[in-house]
């Protein structure tokens, strides 16, 4: 079972080395690919110093395009499984391993790490705490995505996922560059893939800052709802690999 872990990174020079080291420690035996989405800082150089493969996009194209690059690489190089996590240090690699277990055991095609799934768990210091605008957005997306897919999702924008080859072939062809996370979930469910959420621990970000200001959040939410609505009427694609 060959596994690729890819890390989309945009101006994450402060945290990329730690994330790579974390993946090496907790996901031994996997190959690592850092996808630098046209960073203007030293992200590519830092990642290279770690000795991992780095694919540098010539200009910034958004998270969707960066993730798709990872899926494309995994598909082409014949990996059985792949996983991705954020480069800002919010996603512990040990949790990614749990997602990969689900895919490797073939219990699901696509597994999402959800930071909200486990309200009962005692909060540890340093654990992820959502901001107010983030909570509103999460609620809206949750509602509409559940409506669209008739499947319950709690963490619709999670950037910690594991997937098998079915998902690779789907996402390397169809992946919205603007609205990566939500639309991809809708797409996967529509194509009849088994999508599953696994509760995970997430941390506060180690470096960089969130791109979400209140105004941007509002626009982000609006755009997401429109995208979901349109997605409901997209033609289904004939699946190649089944």
């Amino acid at each position: 079972m060959r596994t690729l872990v890819f890390i989309p990174a945009w101006n994450e020079e402060a945290s990329i080395e730690a994330v790579v080291a974390d993946v090496r420690e907790h996901l031994a035996g996997t190959d690592i690919l850092v996808v630098d989405d046209g960073s203007t800082d030293e992200t590519t150089a830092r990642a290279r110093e770690c000795g991992v493969l780095v694919a540098t996009l010539p200009f910034n194209q958004g998270l969707g395009a960066a993730l798709q690059t990872g899926y494309l690489h995994a598909l082409r190089e014949g990996y059985d499984c792949c996983a991705h996590l954020d480069a800002d240090g919010q996603h512990p690699a040990a949790e990614v391993a749990r997602l990969l277990n689900e895919v490797e055991a073939d219990r699901a095609d696509l597994v999402i790490g959800s930071r909200y799934h486990d309200p009962g768990a005692a909060a540890e210091s340093g654990d992820y705490k959502p901001t107010f605008s983030r909570r509103i957005g999460t609620g809206v997306f949750r509602f509409f995505l559940t409506l669209a897919t008739r499947q319950r999702f709690t963490d619709t924008t999670s950037g910690m996922r594991a997937a098998n080859r079915r998902v690779m072939s789907l996402f390397s062809e169809n992946y919205s560059p603007d609205f990566a996370e939500i639309e991809s979930l809708q797409l996967a469910v529509r194509e009849g893939l088994r999508v599953e959420e696994v509760p995970v621990r997430m941390l506060e970000r180690a470096g960089g800052s969130s791109f979400l200001t209140p105004l941007r959040s509002a626009f982000f939410i609006f755009k997401g709802v429109v995208v979901l609505l349109v997605g409901q009427f997209r033609p289904r694609r004939v699946e190649a690999e089944r």
Binding site: D31, I32, L33, V35, D36, R48, C50, G51, V52, L53, V54, A55, T56, L57, P58, F59, Q61, A65, Q68, T69, L72, H73, R76, P177
Partner: protein, 143 residues
């Protein structure tokens, strides 16, 4: 039905012959400009067809005003000028949408191109590291 009849009965506002001459000259110049742009490789043929058709339409409207009046009649518009404006506006709207579609397709193509290039370069980098036998950590990564 009675409305349609009203529009047809009312006195129509026609294009003046002055307008027609100006429009015809403009149309001819416009088409010459299109041809010149193609000749100088500033405009690709496949994107020029629609503009050429627009120029021909302008010319036809100027040469045969009866055509425009017929269209105005069908639209229920008394003033031929207003009908003309509406048509041109619709045409421009369609063209603008057409450009957005082309732009989206090209954006997707550019994205794919960038991804292919990035992966290609990454593979080159990996091959280089291997042939150098250099960076020990890169080796570990391969294994």
């Amino acid at each position: 039905m009675s409305r349609l009849a009203l529009a047809a009965d009312a006195t129509q506002v026609h294009l003046t012959s002055q307008t027609r001459i100006v429009a015809a000259i403009l149309a001819v110049f416009f088409m010459l400009l299109i041809l010149e742009l193609i000749r100088r490789d500033r405009l690709q043929e496949r994107y020029s067809v629609i503009w050429f058709v627009a120029g021909l339409g302008m010319l036809a409207g100027a040469a045969f005003p009866g055509l425009l009046e017929l269209v105005a009649d069908l639209m229920g518009v008394r003033d031929t000028n207003v009908a003309l404006f509406s048509l041109v506006l619709l045409l421009l709207l369609g063209l603008a949408l057409n450009f957005s579609v082309i732009m989206s397709r090209q954006a997707a193509q550019i994205t794919r191109l960038a991804q292919e290039r990035a992966l290609e370069k990454a593979r080159e980098q990996a091959a280089e590291a291997r042939s150098n036998g250099g960076s020990a950590s890169a080796e570990r990564e391969r294994a």
